[in-house]
């Protein structure tokens, strides 16, 4: 894009909204500029993705203070690792949210490992109690119509397995236990459920 004047105008806009008359730069483009040390681009990228990052981390972790901490780590990773983003492998959004999800899940697991050492016997009960809360929460907060519609198109087992794994941060072994389904079935449902979602939501991406 653009001559020096246009670029200056873009820089002057604080929240990453494009200057009048210019289309908003893609997240991929903002990420590429971030990789070259452009702080304005990074700030714009922050404004675009921080709500998704924080929301996802909080969905998995629940605790606001912890979520804020993990979200900060993730967003700083975006700055640090920007040059490692490979557009051939996917969108900037997916790259960032993949990092966010993994960090949130790793935090859950490391906390859980600590709890398990304290009380191995209690794990099963705690997990079972967690399921109702998650299921309810997931049910209440599924607002995005298209994602919701796509999830509704899945079989019950596919949907429950994906929701527990993605929003609940459970391993597929825990999911199998919570749903009282064989491990092999859960693995297969996670995969074919995601494939079905991909095909349904393909239009959105």
């Amino acid at each position: 894009m653009a001559a020096g004047g246009a670029r200056r105008a873009l820089r002057a806009v604080p929240s990453g909204v494009a200057a009048p008359g210019l289309p908003a730069p893609s997240s991929e483009r903002l990420l590429a500029r971030t990789a070259r040390g452009d702080r304005t681009a990074f700030a714009a990228l922050y404004d675009r993705v921080s709500g998704q990052v924080y929301g996802l981390v909080r969905r998995v972790l629940r605790d606001p203070a912890q979520s804020e901490e993990v979200a900060q780590e993730v967003l700083l990773e975006v700055w640090r690792n920007a040059s490692r983003f490979d557009a051939a492998r996917g969108s900037a959004n997916a790259w960032i949210l993949t990092m966010a999800h993994r960090r949130a899940v790793d935090r859950v697991r490391s906390e859980q490992a600590a709890r398990d050492r304290d009380d191995r016997a209690g794990v099963r009960d705690a997990g079972a109690a967690g399921f109702d809360v998650v299921a309810e929460e997931v049910e209440v907060r599924l607002e995005h119509e298209q994602v919701r519609a796509a999830l509704d198109g899945l079989t019950d087992l596919q949907r429950e397995a994906i929701e527990l794994a993605y929003y609940g941060g459970y391993t597929y072994r825990e999911v199998a236990e919570l749903l009282d389904a064989p491990l092999g079935t859960v693995k297969t449902r996670l995969r074919d459920g995601l494939i079905r979602l991909r095909d349904t939501m393909g239009v959105m991406a």
Partner: protein
């Protein structure tokens, strides 16, 4: 094996693999473009699920992140991998030097190349063994009837047995298991009708980690146990039991 291994791509894409299984699958991803492409696609889909949980970040976070970025060095781009085996040509070049000047040198170089080739063959052998082990582990992970049990241990160690009766195959994974002593090894036993059958010897690394693949006598075993045995192992358990479980 490929079809079974593929089944893990979904669980991996939503971070639903436990840590150890994630590590195995990631090694597999390094070698399997089909799985890698599928994972990329499924992650793209999974990221859309985050659209329903958007929530504004606390306002103070923005300043903190931007301030942290100011004092954080960015990573350089990943180095692009060069063509494979490129080093060999350089090493062979001394042979092209004039014979008179190179004779003495050639002996040395030849020695180096032979040693180098031997090392490469060894490395290749290790890698083939590692790859075989990986594929065995993955086959168990991906088996429809795969089950995991945690063995009760005498200490803090984590000892898990992952097994598939159908494949008659099992994988024993340990973490934090103390060294068995200079002259000893750990031996895994699987009991059939009350009779312990030897199922493998192992020594954990410095952090107590080990991975042992068991390729027979898994189906129908009712008990698994680990004992400390003299180096070389025993035909029946003689040492103290450090872990056990019913299957």
């Amino acid at each position: 094996m490929t079809a079974d291994t593929h089944a893990l791509a979904g669980a991996y894409a939503v971070d639903a693999l436990p840590r150890d299984e994630r590590a195995f699958f990631e090694r597999h991803l390094g070698a399997c473009d089909t799985c890698r492409n599928e994972v990329d696609e499924l992650r793209e889909t999974a990221a859309l699920l985050a659209l329903v949980s958007v929530e504004p970040a606390p306002p103070a976070l923005r300043e903190r992140v931007l301030a942290a970025a100011d004092v954080t060095r960015q990573l350089p781009p990943e180095p692009v991998a060069g063509p494979r085996g490129g080093g060999m040509g350089t090493r062979l070049r001394p042979f092209l030097a004039p014979v008179a000047a190179a004779l003495a040198l050639a002996v040395v170089v030849l020695g180096t190349i032979t040693a180098d080739l031997n090392r490469r063959v060894d490395e290749l052998g290790d890698r083939v063994v590692a790859a075989q082990q990986d594929s065995q582990v993955l086959s168990v992970l991906a088996a429809d009837d795969a089950q995991t049990v945690e063995l009760k241990t005498t200490g803090d160690a984590t000892v898990r047995l992952l097994y598939s009766p159908e494949l008659d195959r099992a994988v024993l994974v340990t973490d934090g298991l103390p060294a068995p002593g200079e002259e000893s090894v750990y031996e895994l036993w699987l009991a059939h009708d009350g009779e312990p059958v030897p199922a493998g010897l192992f020594r954990p690394d410095d952090e107590g980690r080990s991975l042992t693949v068991v390729e027979s006598n898994v189906s129908g075993a009712e008990l698994a146990a680990i004992t400390v045995e003299p180096r070389g192992g025993s035909a029946e358990p003689t040492g103290p039991s450090v872990a056990h479980t019913k299957l």
